[in-house]
C-alpha cells in the first residue's frame, strides 16, 4: 500500500490510542478522584496560596464567567503594552521593532482568544521576550481557559440539580499542571532532539556551498511549538509555521504534531461522558465528529493527490500530487490530512500553504472552520457542539410535539434564545465582515493604508474573494490559519479581524456556559417512555443533519462565489 496513506492511517490510529485514555484520565482529574499525577498536588497548592485562591469556594455560572473574563481582560492589557514596547525591552537579540498599535491590538486579541491569526512574521516581527512572555504564555492560558469553561459545563450536568459549579481557578490551574504543561514538556524534548532549536542564541550567519551569505533565524522554538499544537493555538514561531524545517523537521515530527493537536479535543468529549456518567452520550458525540472528519478529509485527499489540472495540461508528471506550497518530506497526503484537522479543530497551524491548495480543498477547509465543532478547539469545540445539540433537541421536540429536554432538564425559551443568538453570530460576523472587505476593495482601492486595498489580494478573480472570506472565517472560528497571500497587516484587517476574533471567542463561551448553568439549576425530570434520548443513533443523525443544514443555509452562497466558482472555471 502507498506509504503516504499508511502514514496518515497510522497517525489517526495513534491519536485515538492516546486520546481515549487521556479523556478518562481528565474526567478523574476534574472530578477530584485519585490519579497517578497526584504527586503534582503540592505545586498546585503552592500556586493557589501565592495567588490568594481558595478552591473550596463554589461558584455559580455567573461567577465562573466573571472570573474567566477578568483574567482574560488583564492579559489583553498586559500583552498589548509589551508588544508595543518590545523594541525597548530586553531579550531582543535580532533587534526587531515594536509593533504598531493596530497590529498589537490584533495580535494580542488573537492570542488571548486562542486564535493565533498572525499579521506579523515570527522572524522579523517579535522579540524573544514577546515570543515567550506574551505569545507562548497565552498559548498555555488561553487553552486552559477553554478547557476550564468546558469543565464548568460538565459540572452542570453531573448532579441532578445544582447551582454550585465548582471553582474556576481550580479547573484552570489543573488544566495547566495536569495536562498542558507535562505534555508540552515531553513534546518539546522530542522536537528538540529531532532538530528544532530550543536555545536562546540569536541569528546565525554562514556562507553556503555556492558562496552565498545566508542569515538564519533561530531561538527557543521547540517550547512554543509543543504548546501551539497541544493547546490548539496554531501560532508558529517562524513565519512559515509548521512548514518551516525548524518547526517541523521530519515526517516523524509531523506525525507528533498532528497527533498533539487532536488528542485534547477528542479527550474532552470522552471526559464529558465519563464525568457526567453517560458514556454512551460521549461515544455518539465522538461518532458524529469522526464521521464529519472523514467527510471533509476524503474529498480533500482526492483533490490534492490528483494534482493541479492546470499543471497537468502543461504536460509534467504529477504522480506526487499538487506540490505548490507543500514540503517534499510530508507529501500531499499528510498535508491534506493536516489541512483537514487544523481547520476542523481550531489549531490553524499549517504544514502547507492553504492559499495554494486546490479550489475544492479550500471549500472543505472553509467548511471545517464554519462548522468548528468536529472535535473543535481545546474545550471550546465541545461548547460549540453543545449549541448544536440544544438546537437539535429543540427541533426534535417540535417535531414530536413535546417540551424539549436535555439530560433531564427542560429546555425553555431563554435557553433557546441564547442558542439561536450564538448560532446566528458566526454567519453574521463572517458574511458581514467579508462583505465590508469586498466593498472597500472594490470602492476604496486607493485608501492610504499600509497596504492599499487594491493591493490586498495576491490572486485575481474568485480566488481573491476566497482569500478575504477565509480570513474572516478563520477569525470567527478562532482558527488562525490564513490564505496568506492576503495583505493583512494594515488598519482595516487588523481592527476588523480583531473585533471578529473577540466576539467569536467570548460570546460562544458565555452562551453555552450560561445555558448549562440555567439548565443545571432546573428541577431534574426522571427519564420516562416519552423522554427524547440524546445518546441514540437516531438523535446523532438528527444532530448531524442540524449541523449540515444550518451551515449549508448560512454559507453556501459565499462558498459558491469563491472556491466553488474557481473550481468550475478550472474544469473548462
Amino acid at each position: 500500500m502507498n506509504t503516504e496513506l499508511t502514514g496518515i492511517i497510522a497517525t489517526f490510529l495513534l491519536t485515538l490510542v492516546i486520546a481515549i485514555p487521556l479523556g478518562k484520565y481528565l474526567a478523574k482529574v476534574f472530578a477530584g478522584e485519585k490519579v497517578w499525577t497526584d504527586f503534582l498536588k503540592p505545586l498546585e497548592t503552592g500556586i493557589y496560596k501565592l495567588s490568594g485562591i481558595n478552591i473550596k469556594e463554589q461558584m455559580n455560572w455567573k461567577q465562573q464567567l466573571k472570573a474567566l473574563l477578568t483574567i482574560n481582560i488583564l492579559w489583553l492589557f498586559y500583552g498589548f503594552f509589551v508588544l508595543i514596547f518590545q523594541d525597548k525591552l530586553p531579550f531582543n537579540p535580532d533587534g526587531n521593532p515594536g509593533m504598531t498599535p493596530d497590529l498589537a491590538f490584533n495580535t494580542i486579541i488573537s492570542f488571548v482568544a486562542n486564535c493565533n491569526l498572525q499579521h506579523y512574521s515570527g522572524e522579523s516581527g517579535v522579540s524573544y521576550l514577546t515570543q515567550q512572555y506574551v505569545l507562548m504564555f497565552l498559548q498555555f492560558v488561553s487553552a486552559a481557559t477553554g478547557i476550564a469553561a468546558a469543565v464548568v459545563l460538565f459540572k452542570a450536568f453531573r448532579d441532578k440539580t445544582t447551582t454550585e459549579l465548582g471553582n474556576f481557578w481550580e479547573f484552570f490551574v489543573k488544566s495547566i499542571t495536569r495536562l498542558l504543561l507535562p505534555l508540552s514538556f515531553v513534546m518539546a524534548i522530542i522536537l528538540t532532539f529531532s532538530g528544532t532549536p530550543a536555545s536562546y542564541e540569536g541569528k546565525d550567519q554562514f556562507i553556503s556551498l555556492q558562496g552565498d551569505t545566508v542569515h538564519v533565524s533561530r531561538g527557543p522554538a521547540a517550547q512554543m511549538i509543543a504548546i501551539k499544537h497541544l493547546g490548539t493555538n496554531g501560532g508558529g514561531y517562524f513565519g512559515a509555521n509548521s512548514a518551516h524545517p525548524f518547526e517541523n523537521p521530519s515526517y516523524f515530527t509531523n506525525m507528533v504534531e498532528l497527533i498533539a493537536q487532536v488528542i485534547i479535543p477528542i479527550a474532552m468529549v470522552i471526559a464529558f461522558g465519563y464525568f457526567i456518567r453517560r458514556k454512551k452520550l460521549a461515544w455518539t458525540i465522538f461518532g458524529v465528529m469522526t464521521i464529519g472528519l472523514f467527510m471533509l478529509l476524503l474529498p480533500m485527499l482526492s483533490s490534492e493527490l490528483g494534482g493541479n489540472p492546470a499543471l497537468a495540461k502543461m504536460g509534467i508528471s504529477q504522480t506526487t500530487g499538487a506540490m505548490e506550497g507543500k514540503e517534499v518530506r510530508f507529501g500531499p497526503a499528510a498535508s491534506a490530512y493536516w489541512a483537514t484537522v487544523t481547520t476542523i479543530i481550531s489549531t490553524g497551524s499549517v504544514n502547507s500553504m492553504h492559499d495554494s491548495t486546490m479550489p475544492m480543498s479550500g471549500t472543505w477547509q472553509l467548511l471545517g472552520m464554519m462548522i468548528n465543532s468536529f472535535y473543535g478547539g481545546c474545550g471550546v469545540g465541545l461548547l460549540n457542539y453543545f449549541i448544536y445539540l440544544i438546537v437539535a433537541v429543540f427541533i426534535s421536540g417540535l417535531m414530536v410535539g413535546r417540551t424539549p429536554e436535555f439530560l433531564g432538564h427542560k429546555v425553555e425559551a431563554r435557553e433557546i434564545k441564547i442558542a439561536a443568538i450564538i448560532t446566528l453570530l458566526s454567519p453574521f460576523l463572517i458574511l458581514a465582515g467579508t462583505a465590508i472587505a469586498s466593498y472597500i476593495f472594490t470602492s476604496h482601492g486607493d485608501a492610504a493604508w499600509a497596504v492599499q486595498p487594491k493591493n490586498w489580494l495576491n490572486n485575481p478573480g474568485f480566488h481573491g474573494f476566497s482569500e478575504m472570506l477565509y480570513e474572516m472565517t478563520s477569525s470567527n472560528a478562532n482558527n488562525g490559519s490564513g490564505f496568506e497571500g492576503l495583505g493583512d497587516n494594515n488598519i482595516f484587517w487588523n481592527l476588523s479581524t480583531g473585533i471578529v476574533i473577540f466576539l467569536g471567542r467570548f460570546l460562544p463561551i458565555i452562551g453555552p456556559v450560561a445555558i448549562a448553568g440555567l439548565l443545571g439549576a432546573k428541577k431534574f425530570i426522571p427519564e420516562s417512555a416519552g423522554t427524547l434520548k440524546t445518546d441514540t443513533k437516531t438523535f446523532a443523525l438528527m444532530t448531524f443533519a442540524v449541523i449540515l443544514v444550518l451551515n449549508a443555509l448560512s454559507y453556501f452562497p459565499a462558498l459558491a462565489l469563491g472556491p466553488l466558482a474557481e473550481y468550475f472555471t478550472m474544469l473548462k
Binding site: I47, W75, V141, I189, G195, A243
Partner: protein, 186 residues
C-alpha cells in the same frame, strides 16, 4: 469583582514564572544534549559552517543538484510560500518558464519526466528536499558538468535518498545539500 482582579494579577505572575521561565529554560538546558546543542544542527566542511542540516540552500550552478523553487530565495532570516492560487494566470506562466528552464539545462529529459515538486515553490521556501524523480532528471547534467560516470552519480543519489519513516510511513526524499556535499567530496 475586586477579589477576582487581585487573584487574576497574582495568578498571572505565578504562571509567568512557571510557564515562561522554568519550563522553557529546562527544555533549553536539556536541549543542549541534542545534535547542534539545541541551536540547530550545523554542517561543517574544513572547519567552516556551510549550512544547516535541515535548511535548503540555493543551487544554480550546473555541477550541483538544484533544489525546489523558493518564494524567499532560500533566505533563512524569513520563510514563506508563494501563496499563489492554483488558477492564477501569472503563476501558471511562471511554472511554464520553470519547465522551459529545466528542459534547457537538462537535455535528454522529456516534459513528462519532470515531477511537480521541481517546478512549484515549497511552503517554507527552505525545503531541503526534492523527490527521487526530481534528482533523477538532473543526473545526466551533473555527471556531464563534473566529468563523472552517470552510474557513480546515480549511486550517490541512492545513498542520499531518505526512505519513508520506518519504511512504511510517508514519502521518500533526497536531501539536496547532503547530496551536493557528497559530490564535492569525490
Amino acid at each position: 469583582m475586586k477579589k477576582y482582579i487581585i487573584q487574576s494579577i497574582r495568578l498571572t505572575l505565578v504562571l509567568l514564572v512557571l510557564l515562561c521561565v522554568v519550563y522553557p529554560i529546562t527544555v533549553a538546558f536539556i536541549g543542549k544534549m541534542s545534535k547542534g546543542n539545541g541551536g540547530g544542527e550545523k554542517i561543517t566542511k574544513n572547519g567552516k559552517t556551510v549550512g544547516y542540516a535541515l535548511l535548503g540552500q540555493s543551487f544554480t550552478k550546473p555541477q550541483y543538484f538544484w533544489g525546489r523553487p523558493s518564494a524567499v530565495a532560500y533566505n533563512a532570516a524569513g520563510s514563506a510560500g508563494s501563496n499563489k492560487g492554483p488558477s492564477n494566470p501569472d503563476y501558471l506562466k511562471e511554472v511554464q518558464s520553470r519547465i522551459d528552464t529545466l528542459l534547457k539545462y537538462n537535455p535528454g529529459i522529456k516534459k513528462s519526466d519532470i515531477p511537480a515538486d521541481m517546478v512549484t515553490a515549497s511552503g517554507s521556501g527552505l525545503d531541503p528536499n526534492i523527490s527521487e524523480q526530481g534528482a533523477a532528471i538532473q543526473i545526466q547534467r551533473v555527471a556531464k558538468a563534473r566529468n563523472l560516470d552517470e552510474k557513480k552519480v546515480k549511486e550517490l543519489v541512492a545513498m542520499n535518498t531518505l526512505k519513508p519513516f520506518m519504511g512504511m510511513f510517508g514519502p521518500s526524499s533526497v536531501n539536496v545539500l547532503k547530496l551536493n556535499l557528497a559530490l564535492d567530496e569525490l
